[in-house]
Amino acid sequence: MKLKMTLLAASLIVSMTGAAKAEDPSKLNDLEIAHVAYVADVIDIRYAHLALAISSNPDIHEFAKTMIRDHEAVNEQALALLGKLNAQPQDNFLSQSLQKGAEELITEMSQLRGDAFDKRYAENELAYHKAVNNLVENAFIPNIENAEVKSLFEAGLEIFKAHEGHAEMMVKKVN
């Protein structure tokens, strides 16, 4: 079951990003996992800034501000922990794949306006958080070796699950 969920999460990420070849996220080391998480946070912050720039829907604005506030808080904790451990996150296939997918999606969403943008943004937030949460819960947390890094990911997962629930509410509101 865990393997199935891991593969599901990986395939979601890969399909989101359009990568041709799937590699195994569960084989990443702690520093690569930290890099993926940091990139995933930054991507969602970029989506949120795009929403603030394009959308005129107050609910979308509040949601986007929450995404910025929370993801910045998580990244601040992650950087503090890496500093304490005197470690540098390591770039890897999954970070690159996420970034590529994000660039494509930002280009697409930048062309949308009004309700079309709001729906695309909300639906992507839901899909994105579902995919990342599956990845974090089933591929990353079971394989993280450092206890403090694992604890940070567990706390982060609580936040991102809350975001997933919030995104579900947003999708209902804009549809």
């Binding site: 506030r69 808080a73 904790q77 706390a155 982060g156 609580e158 809350a162 919030h166 509410m169």
Partner: protein, 113 residues
């Protein structure tokens, strides 16, 4: 005559009882309450309080939160990780409250009469 005396006695007794209760309520020391914000929940999520009591909300999550009345009549500031804020209970604080950043986080204060 008897009826008047009875009424006078009853009113005096009632007044005395009322005064006693009022005095008791007025002299009862305010109580302090702690509410922890953890894993996107207010703990406890329901709390019985009295006007004059104090409540401290402490955030143990990484994500910032608030405790804000549903009708926006009162709120804490933004509480970052490990931050806390204490408010003194006023009569208008009875009712539901939530986190403005995470609207699914809900809780309730009930003010004893």
């Amino acid at each position: 005559m008897h009826r008047r005396r009875f009424l006078q006695t009853s009113v005096a007794a009632l007044a005395a009882t009322g005064s006693s209760s009022a005095l008791h309520a007025a002299t009862k020391a305010p109580t302090h309450h702690d509410i922890t914000i953890y894993r996107f929940k207010f703990v406890p999520d329901t709390l019985d309080v009295r006007v004059g009591d104090t409540i401290t909300w402490q955030n143990k999550d990484i994500a910032p939160h608030t405790a804000t009345a549903n009708d926006d009549s009162w709120t804490t500031d933004e509480l970052g990780k490990r931050q806390s804020q204490t408010l003194t209970v006023t009569a208008g604080m009875s009712g539901d409250y939530y986190c403005v950043y995470h609207p699914h986080m809900k809780a309730k204060l009930t003010i004893a009469s």
